[in-house]
């Protein structure tokens, strides 16, 4: 119990003194996870919607595979991305290993199936509602996808935030592909793992509280910016 108190104190101390290293790794956490979120959303939101309206032969199999991929173990993703980006791997010439870019790639792979799957679930119901209208207006496939995305944006926001939650708290993959290099690839989660290894539980816990606060802050910020839960813009 003492250690949890010490952790809270450490967190408050770090935040109120605006510790330079803390600000740096917090910003890097945000940079990596938000980049991964934007890229994954750009792929997964249209894909999930497309999957809801399009009927094709292996649709069931694709959806089942997508749902299964939601549980992709980050450590395995990290290992595979590591082997691909390693200098002796197929993409070694790019020299991306142990860089924030490598961490973003790993996180995109981890969260894209999650976002696509939630999107698909939500869009399927919306499509059932809009189906007759959009067909009778003789819309193109592209128009249908964009209409659904616009009218279903709250559900999509939930999908994106779930993806962000998984990305910001992830440690297994980014530890392997990022290497936890000070001032280069250290983020909040890998710093927590490091401090735990040093036996400095107070600082580790302090960073943990900062991470939780950050995740909540981003959620509130996105809600506020996209003006959900307000009159007239349901």
């Amino acid at each position: 119990m003492n250690e949890i108190w010490a952790g809270l104190q450490a967190a408050l101390f770090l935040v109120f003194t605006l510790d330079k290293d803390l600000v740096e790794i917090t910003l890097r956490s945000l940079q990596v996870s938000l980049s991964a979120l934007v890229i994954a959303s750009a792929i997964a939101l249209p894909f999930g919607t497309w999957l809801a309206i399009r009927r094709f032969r292996y649709r069931r199999a694709t959806i089942a595979a997508l749902n299964a991929l939601m549980g992709l173990p980050p450590v395995v993703v990290g290992l595979i991305v590591y082997l691909l980006l390693s200098r002796s791997g197929p993409f070694g010439v790019l020299g991306l290993l142990f860089s924030p870019t490598a961490m973003i790639i790993a996180q995109v792979i981890i969260i894209a199936p999650l976002i696509a799957s939630i999107t698909h679930q939500a869009m399927r119901e919306l499509w059932a509602e809009y189906h007759d209208l959009l067909i009778s207006l003789n819309t193109t496939k592209r128009q249908r996808i964009f209409t659904l995305i616009r009218d279903g944006k709250r559900a999509l926001l939930t999908a994106a935030l779930a993806g962000f939650g998984r990305a910001i708290g992830e440690v297994g993959a980014i530890m392997i592909v990022g290497g936890n290099i000070d001032h280069a690839t250290r983020v909040l989660t890998t710093a927590i793992a490091l401090e735990t290894g040093k036996g400095d539980f107070a600082l580790a816990l302090g960073l943990g509280f900062v991470l939780i606060a950050l995740a909540m802050l981003v959620n509130f910020a996105i809600h506020a910016l996209s003006r959900t839960e307000r009159e007239g813009t349901w």
Binding site: R87, S88, L97, G197, F201
Partner: protein, 267 residues
Amino acid sequence: MIRILAIFCILFSTSLRAETIKLAVTTSFHNSGLSDILLPEILADTGLEVQLLVVGTGQALRLGEAGDVDAILVHSKQAEVDFVANGFGTHRREIMYNDFVIIGPASDPSNIQNAQSADAALSQIASHKAAFVSRGDQSGTHKKELGLWQTANLDPEAFGGWYRSVGSGMGASLNIASSMNAHILSDRASWLNFGNKGALGLLFSGDPQLANQYAYIPVNPERHRHVNSSATIILEKWLTSRAAELLINGYEIGGQPLFVFNASPTR
């Protein structure tokens, strides 16, 4: 949506960096805290930003073999000699040493404080079947521990449940030993710097068998052309310089010196 993108763009802007070199080091070197002293000095003296990848010796050697780092600083002599002999590194340069110590419950139930040698101490732990935590990650510390069991004519494969191979770094293993009140082989620096000692104490040290030599090996640029070999030469020069000697010999925790600089001025 545009506002979200704007915030995103601000976050994404990155700054310019000094020349960098990727150095794979062992967890024991980093946990000792010495790297926090050396890196800013290296940056100030040579303008070189050393990016540390903190891993076990086994993984450090693999990173060097794959060419994912520019140089390695590790402590497992036989593996290092093989690494250079196989052409992965250009040469091996000894930098400094510290020593391993045997940690255990401060009450010393297996009475190893009075053991004649390190392997005798381990034999006593084995005969008492007292809890022992092994790194189990092919690190330099792990290899040293396996060597000591071999000297004692004991086979860890045949041990019972008292021998726990945890497959973690030095700090994580010390945490486990601390919570189980178990014995563990650690380097002195990591132990002194460790913040969660609990009921553990330093039980045995001083046997010459427990010396822990660190060596620096640049990755062979003939094998991996992208290796920053000019930077590895600058770093080697600094690590074997008088400035490094003063900092390494002067590094103390709680009044105890930890490392002894022993690089020869010429290769």
